[in-house]
Structure formats: C-alpha cells, structure tokens
C-alpha cells in the first residue's frame, strides 16, 4: 500500500474549509476513483488530472488509484483540488510523503498549466489560521492569497515546475508580491456630471453619510439610475476589514479579476427586476452560494423598478435590511452570508408614471396607485429612511449651460467627516441608518427641534416609525453639519425626505 496526503481547501458559503486529499495506489485493475462527496466537476477531474500528470513529465501509475477527499461529509465543488490530487498521486507513486504543513490549490489544464480558482482568499485565510506554513497556488491567485497570509506563497504556473522541485530538489521561490491596483470603477458616475437635481443629490449625500436606504420616486427617464450610480463614488473607502470581506465574496463568486489583490471600492450591484429570490439571496444546489444581496455587501444594491420585482424576492430583503446578513439554507447545509448594503430603490410614482408631473395627467385610479404602492410592503418601507421625488428634466433645461455642480470628491469629504463623527460616538456601534428607537432617544435633541418634531407629528400625522426615520436622518444631517446635537434646522430639513402620504 502506498499512500500520500496533500492538504487543500474549499469554500462553503463564504467560509474556507480544510480538505485533505489522500491518494492511495494499490495493486489491482488499473483505474482511477474519487470518493468523498464531490460534485460533477470533481468527477471530471479524473481525466484532467491524469492527462495533466502525463503531460508534465510524470507518468500516471498504471495501477488502482483511489482519491479520498476528507472530511467526507462536506460537499465539495469545483476544480480547486486538481493540484493537490496530482501532487498526492505522483508522490504516492514514488513512495514519498508530502509535508503536513503545506497546502495546494489550483485547477489543472490538460497540458499541466495551473489555472486560477475561486475562493482563494477565504480558503487561505482559514488554512493560515490552522497553522499552514507554505502555500502553492495558481500564479494568478498569488496577490489575493497574500492578503490572507504572511506565510510564503508560491505561485505555480505549470505542474512541471514541481517535477524539478521534487525530483531534482530545485528551489521554488516565493512569488514576489507586486503592488496591485484595483481596477478603476468605470461604472461610477460623478455628481458633477448630473445636471440639476439638488434635492436628490443632497439625499444621496445624506444616504452615504449615515448609510440610510433611499427610495427615488420619479417618472421614467428622470435620471434615477444615474443618481444611483453616483452613490458608490461618494462612499468612504473600505476599511481593511471591509475590503477583505468584499474581496472574499468576489473571489468566491468568481468576480475577482485575475491577478487582482484587495478590492477597496464599494461594490455596486443592480439586479434586474426579473431576478428570482434564489439569485438575490444566494442559490446553489447543494451548498449555498452568494447572491446579489451578498455581492452588494459594503456597497450599494440598486433595485430599479422595485415594485416590479417578484414578491418573494422583495420579501427576502427583510432579513438583510434588519440584520445586515442573511441565513441561506440548502439541502446540504446552511450558511449565514453577509449582506450589509445601502439599498437604493427606484420606482415610478404610479403605474402610469405621471402622478405629480405638472405637464401630464395621471390616468391611474386611487386604487391603482394604492395597489402599486402596496407592492413595497410595510416592513421594507419602514427601513427606507429617505424618499425623494426625482422630476423629469425638461429637454431645454438639459441643454442650457448652468453653474457647475459639486463634484463627488467634494461631497465625499463631507461624508467622510460625518462618518468619523459617528465612529467617534459609537466606535463599534451601528451607523445612523441602523439606529434603533432607544438609541435615537439618547441623542441630544435641541428643544426647538423637539417642538418642531412634535408639531410635525401632529400636523403631518407621522407614525412612531416615521418619527424615528426623521430622527435618524436629522442625526446624519447634524453630523454633516458637524454639530454635536440635532438642531431645529436639521429636523426641518430631514422632514422633507419623509415618505409622502
């Protein structure tokens, strides 16, 4: 009996898991078997690994080869075990063991080239915590791997490199980490490029500063999408921890560009309204895989035509809006995925889109409007602190030259300062957008502001929840104004972003 073990890993949900790859070569009918709850891609690895070994200067053993992936009860997906399997097989064939504190990740091409895999960052992070001292990863994943570990990371481009290493004792050097630049966020819009719309822009600024959810109401073509795309550009840069989270998620879902290191720009996700609930929260047949909600983590989830989304998809927003994460259950287990984002929802004012437009008559009956509004359920509305009407821009207005609007960079400075003030008050606690009633009551509120709020509650018939929304927004406006307490002017401005009756 000849046996070799190579350490590897996979992801479940977004967490890295340790997987031990055992290769056994025994006498018997020549064959190649993989056991240990592998998916379809893993079964196909037999052909890839066999041919890659033969094409890299080794010889695939003409005996009975069995690969076991442990722990056996963990569902395993994908092609990331190829390198570990090949390493275990060729070493077992030569009666050699492999060091126990080294891990192998990578997919093999038929010619022995090592291809990048998904989930490198969370896998390495997990194995690093388990005390692994050396990592062999695809060259394209080195930058990502280095984020997660201080141990040597060796980028492998071809399986043949390892033959020289094992057979002739050639040194494999640690790959140098080149400074990586994140890809420029091309989809972001600068506020200066948006004509007019000061009311909506201010709402964006408040949303960014306090991480408030925002609803843009307006007729088709009013520029709601453009405004939403401007939001990531005024958000603060991600902290180291947040960036690791975002990069991990991108890595797991295969959205990390090859060779990319840490992503430090807030993601922007804009799922189409035909999306299924499973695609929004995260699907996967056996193991949960991150959906759009998780992909928008630490960034912006833009839902255009929010009333057109399927009801079950909309309702799936409730848990992340309340807790910043969501539990996903699948046949082979469940996972808690992160999902703390700023929701920017856009909707028409009514089914025909012309309500409130002075130039067009709205043809909808009150019942039509009521039904249309009711598609966005109370629990979701309750979480949306800011609502603004985005008017249609008259064509003539768009062509007229006007004073240049503030750029995103200027607004972002104010947002940064407002965020700092919130962090100073609550180093660990939530941002203003997630403050609860009791937390709000402890915020200093000037007497005049209190009087104004009471008058507004009476006059405008505000519910208790509506008052909390106004207070949360007023708190952020005070932070933008760099004031310690909420003053009358802050409450007065905040009231203009409330939900209309």
């Amino acid at each position: 009996m000849v046996l070799a073990r190579a350490l590897s890993g996979t992801v479940f949900g977004l967490d890295g898991c340790r997987v031990e790859v055992e290769a056994d070569i025994a006498d018997g009918l020549p064959g190649f078997h993989i056991v240990g709850l592998g998916d379809r891609a893993l079964q196909e690895a037999r052909e890839r690994v066999k041919i890659a070994i033969n094409n890299s200067g080794f010889e695939f053993p003409g005996r009975k080869v069995t690969i076991n992936l442990a722990p056996a009860q963990l569902p395993k997906e994908g092609s990331g075990f190829d390198l570990a399997m090949a390493a275990a097989i060729v070493n077992a064939a030569q009666g050699r063991g492999l060091p126990p504190d080294v891990a192998w990740l990578g997919e093999l091409a038929l010619d022995g080239t090592v291809r990048p895999i998904r989930g490198t960052l969370p896998i390495i992070a997990h194995l690093d915590r388990l005390g692994i001292k050396r990592f062999y990863v695809p060259a394209a994943n080195v930058a990502e791997a280095k984020i997660a570990t201080a141990a040597p990371v060796i980028g492998v481009t071809h399986f043949r490199q390892l033959k020289a290493h094992w057979d002739e004792g050639a040194r494999l050097d640690e790959s140098p980490v080149e400074p990586v630049t994140s890809p420029a966020p091309t989809q972001h819009v600068d506020l200066a490029e948006i004509f007019g719309q000061p009311h909506a822009k201010r709402a964006l600024e408040v949303a960014a500063a306090g991480a408030h959810h925002l609803l843009l109401v307006g007729p088709p073509g009013a520029g709601k999408t453009l405004l939403a795309r401007a939001l990531p550009g005024i958000l603060p840069p991600l902290s180291q921890r947040e960036a690791v989270e975002v990069t991990s998620i991108a890595s797991c879902v295969g959205m990390l560009p090859a060779g990319a290191g840490l992503l430090d720009v807030a993601p922007f996700r804009a799922p189409h309204h035909t999306i299924s609930a499973a695609a929004l929260v995260g699907g996967g047949l056996a193991a949960p895989r991150a959906g759009e909600i998780t992909r928008a983590h630490r960034g912006v989830l833009f839902m255009d035509e929010i009333t057109e989304f399927r009801r079950d998809a909309l309702e799936s927003l409730r848990q992340p809006l309340e807790e910043g994460r969501l539990a996903v259950a699948r046949t082979r287990g469940h996972a808690v995925l992160p999902g703390r984002f700023i929701l920017v929802a856009a909707a028409n004012p009514c089914p025909c889109g012309f309500a409130g437009d002075p130039r067009r008559i709205c043809e909808c009956t009150p019942l039509d409007r009521q039904r249309y509004r009711a598609r966005l359920s109370g629990p979701i509305r309750d979480r949306i602190d800011l609502q603004v009407l985005v008017p249609r821009q008259p064509a003539g207005e768009l062509l007229r030259s006007t004073p240049v609007a503030e750029s995103s960079a200027v607004v972002r400075e104010r947002v940064l300062r407002a965020r700092e003030r919130q962090r100073d008050r609550r180093p660990q606690g939530p941002l203003n957008g997630a403050l609860t009633g009791p937390q709000l009551r402890r915020e200093p509120l000037a007497a005049a502001g209190q009087t104004l709020l009471e008058a507004a509650a009476e006059r405008l018939q505000l519910s208790g929840r509506a008052i909390h929304r106004v207070l949360r927004v007023a708190r952020t406006i005070a932070d933008l104004d760099e004031r310690p307490g909420i003053e009358e002017a802050h409450v007065a401005e905040a009231l203009q972003y409330r939900e209309s009756g």
Partner: protein, 298 residues
C-alpha cells in the same frame, strides 16, 4: 341595521317623491337624515386639487349642518363623503349595487363610517353586482334627494355630467367648481358653467343659492369673521420674510419641485428644505415628497 323604505312610508324622503320616477323602495343601512341635502359628484380619476376642493366644500357644508349626498365612488365621491364625516353631520351614500355588495370594495370601511351617523342607500335588490346600466339610474336618486348638485371635475360624457343633466331635468340647481383650463377633467364642468351653472368657490356660494339653507347661512355668518381673518392670513402668506420669499414662488394648484425653488432663489437645497418644512407645519403649503403647492385656508 338594514331596512326597506317603500314609496308610501312616512320616512320616505320628501324630495325624492317629487321626481317623476321615484324608486318604489329604498334599501337603507343607517338612518336617512331629515336635514336639507346637497349632492357633490365628480370624476373617479380626480386630481389632488379636485379631491381637496370636494373634501373642503363637503366639510364646510357638513359643519353647518347640511347633509352631503354622493355615490360612494372613488375620487370626488369618496373625498366628499370623507369631508362630510370630518364636518360632523351625517352624509348619505347612494349605491348602484345591493347593500351587501359595497362597490368599490375598498370603500367598505367608508360605507360603514357613513352608515354609523347617516345612511348608505340603494334601490338595488340585495346581491345586485356592479352593472354598468345601474349607475346612470342611481344618479337620479342622488340628484332627487338633493336641493342642488355640485360638480367637481367631470370630463365630457362622464357619469357626473349625467347626474348634472338629471338634476336639471328634476328642477335642481347645478353648481360647478372650476378647474384649470389645461385639465381635461375640467372641460365638462366648464361647459356647464358656460351653459349657465353657478360657479362655486366657497361654501357661502352654495348657501346663497338655496333659501332652504338660510339657517346654515346664519350660522356661517357668525363664523365669517374668524374665518376671514384666518383666510386673509393664509392668502397673504407668512409673516417671516424668509418664508414669504419661498411662498411667493408657489402656486395654488400646480406643484413646484424643490429643485426649481432652489434654482429660482439661488439658495442651497438644505435651506430650501428647511423653509419648506416650516411653511408646511404652519399650514401654508402642502408637500408631496419633493413637490409643493400653496395650501388653501384651513
């Protein structure tokens, strides 16, 4: 409590007997008030302005003890019933369906509120569904019960205009609330005004028209002083020069967006929004998540 009132019964409404084809029996949920009645009718697809006008007239009439009659439909009808309930007097809803088939269904609560002090009535048998032919026939009861009919927003060839025509045939006065000349829902109303219907601006315009409402008129006069003062206050805008500057740029009917105000005044949007809230809370303007109009007296 549902009751049936037949044509010969003592509590059959007096005025309804006088039309040429009075219903043989009325199904009544609630109590038919004996006070003089005025009908308010109009489009189901009313504009916010039309609904405000209907609500205000109905409330003012109701405060003075006049019973408002309407058809429980969406839009103007519902606004009139709600205004009447706010005013404190009973109101009467005349339906085209059976008492057990409230139409439109979302007005079930409204119908219940109406029946608590006033009455929901119909000549249709219980179980009658909403049938298109029933509505014009129902309209003759609305005008038949009333001294006169106020039309708020009615397009040409609309149900409200049918009610107005029936009213004229029954010898009832037709009064009209004018709208914007750009509003297609005002064309029917404006045609009526051209044909000689009286233009109504305030509740006083209605009271002046009917000798039967002299008691209400006397009550109205007693309040007129207080009212006038409040109205002049609202009509001439706020005292505060900062707020007045915003208010002067606003219209009574057409909503204006916050962005336009910021551009016209060359003011920061923060400041515009602050002033708008103060105006809104003191009742000078009505806001709708980004667009504002002046508020009529209140």
């Amino acid at each position: 409590m549902d009751r049936v009132v037949a044509l010969g019964d003592p509590d059959y409404p007096e005025r309804l007997k006088q039309i040429h084809d009075p219903p043989a029996r009325l199904y009544v949920n609630g109590r038919l008030p004996a006070e003089p009645m005025i009908a308010i009718v109009g489009s189901r697809r009313a504009t916010p302005y039309g609904q405000r006008a209907a609500h205000r007239l109905a409330r003012d009439l109701s405060e003075l003890g006049v019973v408002v009659v309407s058809g429980l439909a969406r839009g103007i009808d519902a606004a009139a019933h709600r205004g009447a309930l706010d005013g404190g007097s009973p109101t009467v809803a005349v339906m085209a369906t059976g008492l057990d088939r409230i139409y439109p269904p979302e007005h079930a609560d409204l119908a219940q509120a109406i029946a608590r002090s006033g009455a929901v009535i119909t000549e249709a048998e219980p179980g009658t569904p909403p049938l298109p032919g029933r509505f014009p026939v129902r309209n003759r009861i609305i005008s038949g019960l009333s001294l006169g009919v106020i039309v708020v927003e009615a397009a040409q060839r609309s149900g409200a205009l049918i009610t107005a025509r029936m009213a004229a045939e029954q010898g009832r006065d037709v009064l009209c609330v004018p709208g914007s000349i750009e509003n297609p829902l005002a064309t029917g109303v404006h045609q009526l005004i051209k044909d000689g219907a009286k233009l109504v601006q305030t509740v006083e315009d209605v009271l002046d028209e009917f000798s039967e409402l002299s008691r209400a008129r006397a009550r109205a006069q007693a309040r007129v002083h207080a009212r006038t003062r409040a109205r002049t206050r609202a009509d001439s805008g706020p005292q505060d020069p900062q707020l007045l500057a915003v208010w002067e740029l606003l219209d009574w009917v057409e909503p204006r967006h916050h962005d336009d105000l910021a551009a016209m005044m060359n003011l920061d949007i923060k400041e515009v929004n602050r002033r708008l809230t103060l105006l809104e809370i003191s009742g000078y303007i009505i806001g709708d998540c980004g667009a504002v109009t002046r508020a009529s007296r209140d």
